[in-house]
Symmetry: C2
């Protein structure tokens, strides 16, 4: 499988809907949803693909992930991975 | 469902095997595995229970989670949630 280079800026542009639950800064607003800021990029890629394929099931994430291309997933993952996990 | 209070010290004592992949400080040593430090406590509880029930499937996590009681899950989640997500 080809490893796609994530585009952080494009990921940021796409992240608006993610931020409604996971926080604009990647720190979740909802205790049952995970923080994404500073998370491992490869882990984020794998989870988004698992939601898209149905391997991992979540009512909120499945429908979002099914709209994403591999490049979208790479970009979103690159964006969240480089956010500060402990913002000021 | 009763919400169990997590015991951070007990969670720390139990966390040795977790740290082999997720890092002794909760920062993962392996890019495909997530950081746990500073993650939302309720999210961690839900994921450990999902691994235990088989709702979420992962070769490594399933067997670990199946050994855990609800109190174990509460304690481990309380421990990882309070770790610094950006250690010095």
């Amino acid at each position: 499988e080809t490893v796609l280079q994530g585009d952080i800026e494009r990921g940021k542009e796409m992240s608006g809907v993610c931020g409604m639950c996971h926080g604009d800064n990647g720190i979740s607003l909802i205790p049952i949803y995970p923080n994404l800021a500073g998370q491992k990029e490869q882990y984020l890629v794998l989870q988004l693909k698992a939601f898209r394929s149905g391997e991992r099931v979540n009512m909120a994430m499945t429908s979002h992930a099914q709209k994403l291309t591999d490049q979208d997933i790479a970009d979103l993952s690159a964006y969240y991975a480089q956010l500060d996990p402990k913002p000021e």
